[in-house]
Amino acid sequence: MNEIEVQYFAVLRERAGTSRETVQTAAATAAELYDELAARHDFGLPQAMLRVAVNDEFSEWSRPLVAGDRVVFIPPVAGG
């Protein structure tokens, strides 16, 4: 299990009810982590619509996670 710091934006923040949380996870990649959290928080947004950033850099969903990673899930927003 890795300890990962997760941050949410926009609709994901609303669904999760928090802008950040620390999770203990067995997820090996960013994609697996999203699946796990999407099920927990009922995100309803397909992963294809989002971007993930690991340690302040946009990353591939297949990127392996290591303990202490900071993961941010970002949906596009349009308001103005």
């Binding site: 934006f9 926009a10 941010v72 927003v77 308001g79």
Partner: protein
């Protein structure tokens, strides 16, 4: 002697100075311009000043009167030489008496700057090599001004055309802008100010983001600003668009914004395009500008601007907000630089993640992001962003956290052919009707996709029986009927267009969007 005069012989500062004496004056400041022996690397032996005197005196007196009124000084005067002058001779004198030194210095500075800027005086330099040449007054070159005629009302202002309106009539009487606080920055200086004056920026969307962008760019002295916005001012806009007031309700935003910006800075040329950005007009709108600031509230327009910026190879600054958060991104036409599509290869559908109407927003959120956009634009124009690498910046106004996420060019994203020219040439996506009755008579089935709370405010007569809220469609709680011919309707024609486009792409041929939405019918 009037407050402004020309003199054919040597100037007499002592005599002029006496004319400013007043018991209430606690100080006196003056400026003297002298003939120097060099200009731009050439040795000057003497020079000649020539003026168009009647006009020059009238304009000069106006400048002095402005200075007295603006800075509250006691008396002020200016005398300018004409004719032939030798090295070291006095070319111009300005004097101001005032209760306190601060106003005296400021008014003195104002007068000399404005005289150089506005009074028709030409200078001919005679060089040591025997040549001579007429020299432009320095400021005319840096900040082109036009005493141009009033708006040409012969232009068509129909909503279909990407026409431009400009109006410089307010210029001659308003005081000149004072950029001293930004010129004081070593990175800006007079050269930077001249760069801003020579620049042209297109602002797409004059709403929550666009308002601060327009205000700060106009105030900074951008030479020319184009405003694209097809909406009118609505009461629900004001909490986040305080450039407008209740007296403006129902008026086109572009026109109201232009009025306010002209009052803020008479030297900025404002062009208004009271239209929505479309695939047909976006390239023409972008042409002729150095930088685009994208301030709309929908993905459709954002990607439209992105693609046009890529085609024109121009920088564009994007921002968007959602409730308490915002995102900021800049595109630069550099080979390694990511565009909006690099980040979001699947152009998101409007309605999926909410807009300000659906999700709600506090005014300072778009204001903060808009101010950041203005800053990014100024940095780009001034060349202050040299060390900046591509990124998406997220701002959370609740936690006050900002995050800079490094972004990279997506090799699969074709910058040569942005968006793959996705607008097709088949049936038009949008239809236009004058009244709802006409729309009913069109034979299309009308479908209102607004949210229930939006429909609750409708006057009778604007009721559309068939209702499928977009939020339910995108969340999969409802499905759009696959068979039939439909006219999709929302408040302003943005969400309906997005949905029509999506249904078309799924093979549904006979779906249309009501252009401009119900707002277009009401007006």
């Amino acid at each position: 002697m009037g407050a402004f005069a020309f003199a054919g012989g040597p100037l007499e500062p002592e005599r002029y100075r006496e004319s400013l004496a007043d018991p209430s004056a606690g100080g006196y400041a003056s400026f003297e311009g002298w003939v120097r022996d060099h200009n731009e690397g050439r040795t000057v032996q003497r020079l000649e000043y020539e003026a168009f005197e009647p006009l020059g005196i009238a304009e000069g007196e106006r400048i002095v009167a402005e200075a007295v009124a603006r800075f509250g000084v006691t008396r002020a005067a200016c005398v300018h030489r004409v004719g032939s002058l030798g090295i070291g001779e006095l070319a111009v004198w300005v004097g101001v008496s005032a209760a306190h030194r601060g106003e005296a210095f400021a008014a003195c500075r104002y007068i000399i700057d404005e005289v150089k800027h506005r009074v028709p005086i030409w200078k001919k330099e005679h060089y040591a090599d025997g040549n001579s040449g007429w020299v432009n007054c320095e400021r005319c070159a840096a900040a082109p001004r036009s005493g141009g005629p009033e708006d040409d009302h012969a232009h068509s202002h129909g909503p279909e055309h990407g026409h431009a309106r400009t109006d410089d009539s307010a210029r001659s009487t308003a005081p000149a802008p004072d950029y001293s606080r930004q010129i004081a920055l070593p990175e800006v200086g007079a050269a930077g100010q001249a760069r801003l004056a020579a620049a042209s920026v297109l602002v797409v969307g004059a709403g929550g983001l666009g308002v601060p962008v327009l205000q700060y760019l106009a105030a900074a002295g951008i030479g020319r600003i184009g405003i694209v916005d097809g909406d009118v001012v609505e009461g629900s806009n004001l909490h986040r668009q305080p450039l407008y007031g209740t007296a403006d309700l129902g008026r086109p935003k572009a026109a109201v914004a232009a009025e306010r910006l002209r009052a803020l800075n008479r030297d900025v040329r404002i062009e208004t395009h009271a239209v929505r950005a479309t695939p047909d007009n976006i390239d023409a709108l972008v042409a002729g500008h150095d930088l685009i600031v994208e301030c709309t509230d929908n993905f459709r327009a954002k990607f439209l601007v992105n693609d046009a910026a890529l085609r024109a190879q121009k920088p564009a600054v994007f921002a968007s907000v959602h409730q308490y958060e915002g995102q900021l991104q800049i595109y630069r036409p550099l080979p390694h630089w990511p565009c909006l599509r690099c980040l979001w290869p699947e152009a998101p559908r409007d309605g999926l993640v909410g807009n300000c109407a659906e999700a709600g927003v506090l005014g300072p959120v778009p204001a903060t992001l808009g101010a950041l956009q203005a800053m990014q634009a100024l940095k780009r124009l001034l060349g202050l962003d040299a060390g900046e690498s591509p990124s998406l910046v997220t701002v959370d106004l609740l936690s006050l956290e900002t995050r800079r996420l490094a972004a990279r060019r997506n090799p699969a994203c074709d910058h040569e052919n942005p968006g793959n020219a996705h607008h097709s040439d088949e049936q038009p996506l949008e239809l236009e009707f004058e009244t709802l009755a006409e729309a009913f008579e069109s034979g299309l089935e009308l479908v209102d996709i607004r949210e229930a709370w939006e429909r609750a405010h409708d006057p009778p007569g604007l009721q559309i029986p068939s209702h499928l809220p977009l939020s339910e469609l995108v969340q999969g709680y409802a499905e759009f009927p696959a068979e039939g011919r439909y006219l999709i309707i929302c408040a302003h024609g943005v969400r309906s267009l997005s949905l029509a486009e999506q249904l078309r792409s799924q093979g549904q041929a006979e779906v249309y969007s009501l252009r401009g939405g119900l707002a277009a019918l009401r007006s």
